[in-house]
Amino acid sequence: MEREDFDRIEQAARRRERIRSAVTYVLLALWALIVLFPFYWMILTSVKSYSAYNAEYVPRLFTLAPTMQNYADAFTAVPLGRYFLNTAVFTVLTTGLMLLVIVLAAYAFARLSFPGKDATFTFLLSLMMIPNELVIITNFVTITDWGLRNTFLGLILPSVTSVFYIYLLKENFEQIPEELYKAAKVDGTSDFKYLWKVMLPICSPTIVTITILKVIECWNSYVWPRLITDEPTRFLVSNGIQEIRENGFGRENIPAMMAAVVVVSFPLIVLFLLFHKKIMEGVSRGGTKG
């Protein structure tokens, strides 16, 4: 083949490659725009003044006079701080309790042997088939019967366990070689210390992931808190926002509500950015050959 032909073909290939990556980037950029637009809209609206917002017949895509007034309103007009505190307490307690429950349960299913272990576990797994909506009704009746409406206990109790996370953690625990346990036993390690010092650290990526997912779930939970609380002193942020929209300002104040939404989303975004790496990084699983 001629040298020129070769060059020509190579150039053509390179051109095609360049076009392909250009198209890919354009599409990805478009997608990013679509995904990020609601965020932008939320922040944009939250810095528009109430009058400016209402004056816009067709909402504008930018503002020339940003204001922080809405943020001040969000905290003063309704007890947003209170809701925040409630949510924080709710999230920490629920996540903490759930971790305790699922770690112990997963340990039992993975390491102990007791009669009916497999049957119990299969039964637990089959519970995952029942749709959440059905469970909510019975939970509501139970919690109401126990007189736990408008209490933290009532809020927390239904979500202190998760079959799926037990399953996940149990699988993880079972990956740990039996010989580690024997080695620990020869050295006089108690079962509890083995769980705490060996199993949990080895499974820490899973634990971190579960914790983050649970925190997000708690922070965003809406239906259950909505059902079980009707006193504003027990509201969580999600209900709080609804409350703001409906009657927090004596009128519908969309910019202030958006400000509240920004404030409420902020911790989650920070959390995600902080732990994003941690999940990826993972703890080494090597060290045991064979």
């Binding site: 024997k182 020869v186 006089g188 060996v198 045991t288 050959k289």
Partner: protein, 371 residues
């Protein structure tokens, strides 16, 4: 610390529910391991080596029988009160801890008056690490180490408690051939330096023979023979032990004894005074064959393989129980490479006779007092 095993037995209920009979993993194991010796526990896969070791260290409870360390009966003690260090086949290092933390882990469980300060622990970990020559690797994690280095960490972790007994369960099986050779020397050196009574499990006979003071050969939970390596090699008590030790393996023939002579395929091949007449199994070590023109054992010649130090003559014989006879002759020996047959004389000390039914050793010659 000497270890005494008395009628040690372990039965497991059969996993297959249809078979009522228990699996006997270890069957009436009785032995006294002298203080400061290295014992090689040898046998094929599934013969109960790990089970024996686990009973000595306390991970398994014996079904019956007793275990003594020195004068103390430790049968009912949990592992941590026995003062044993154990090295597992897969090393079982904690992947999330550094080498130093791994070695220190056993020390953290000391309670009461034995409790150590952080400094003392670090000091002892350092000492143990230096003993196995990994002093520079203390900050690494197990996955950043080679197999041989992980192995050393495991040994250091077993030694850091200054155990009375060190148990090693196939510690070399994950290493490549060269590292194995090197590491087994290392284990021998460490054992000598510390003087700790050691039980070393392996299914590699060469490994066991090369480093042990004593070897114990097991088969299906039953101890076959106990002795120092050369003795077990030279005087196997039964066909199993004879076949299990030695590479290339011993050559087994169907044979007959009559009038104090051993006949293989009709030819009288060796004087065996003191053997009662009848069928016998003759097992001859590869180095027990002497090629010579008028040798009584005439075999078909297959191949002559030169291996440098010595030469291997591969031959066949109708009364041989397997495919081909492997002999090892000194490399200077002239073997006619074209003749269809090759003749051998036999060395009596390399020839062993066994009962064809029971496989028990039949002594002859000097052993029985005959000349």
């Amino acid at each position: 610390m000497k270890i005494v095993l008395q009628e040690l037995t372990k039965r497991y209920p059969n996993q297959n529910k249809k078979i009522k009979e228990d699996v006997v993993a270890v069957d009436h194991f009785t032995f006294e391991i002298p203080d400061g010796k290295l014992i090689g526990l040898l046998g094929p896969s599934g013969c109960g080596k790990s089970t024996t070791l686990n009973m000595i260290c306390g991970l398994e409870k014996p079904t019956s029988g007793r275990i003594f360390f020195g004068e103390d009966d430790v049968t009912d003690l949990p592992p941590e009160n026995r003062g044993v260090g154990m090295v597992f086949q897969s090393y079982a290092l904690y992947p999330h801890l550094t080498v130093e933390q791994n070695i220190m882990f056993p020390l953290e469980n000391f309670k009461g008056k034995d409790k150590l300060t952080r400094e003392q622990m670090k000091e002892r970990a350092k000492k143990a690490a230096d003993l196995v020559q990994i002093g520079e690797l203390l900050e690494r994690r197990p996955k950043e180490l080679s197999g041989g280095q992980q192995q050393r960490v495991a040994i250091a972790r077993a030694l850091v408690k200054e155990p009375r007994v060190l148990l090693l369960d196939e510690p070399l099986s994950n290493l490549d051939a060269r590292l194995r050779l090197q590491t087994r020397e290392e284990i021998r050196r460490i054992q000598r330096e510390t003087g700790v009574t050691t039980v070393f499990v392996t299914h590699d006979q060469e490994e066991a023979m090369s480093i042990s003071d004593w070897i114990i050969v097991m088969k299906q939970g039953v101890v076959q023979q106990i002795g120092w390596p050369q003795e077990v090699y030279d005087k196997p008590v039964n066909l199993f032990v004879a076949s299990f030790l030695g590479t290339p393996p011993i050559n087994v023939f169907r044979a007959r004894a009559e009038g104090g002579k051993l006949y293989i395929g009709g030819a009288a091949v060796l004087d065996v005074p003191g053997v009662p007449d009848g069928d016998v199994t003759a097992a001859i070590r590869p180095e027990g064959f002497i090629p010579c023109e008028d040798g009584p054992l005439v075999c078909g010649r297959r191949a002559v393989e030169t291996m440098g130090r010595d030469t291997s003559v591969v031959a066949t014989h109708p009364d041989f129980v397997r495919e081909e006879i492997r002999t090892i002759v000194p490399s200077g020996t002239r073997v006619d490479a074209y003749a269809p047959t090759v003749s051998f004389a036999l060395r009596p000390e390399k020839t062993h006779l066994f009962d064809p039914e029971t496989g028990e050793r039949i002594p002859f010659g000097e052993e029985t007092g005959h000349e």
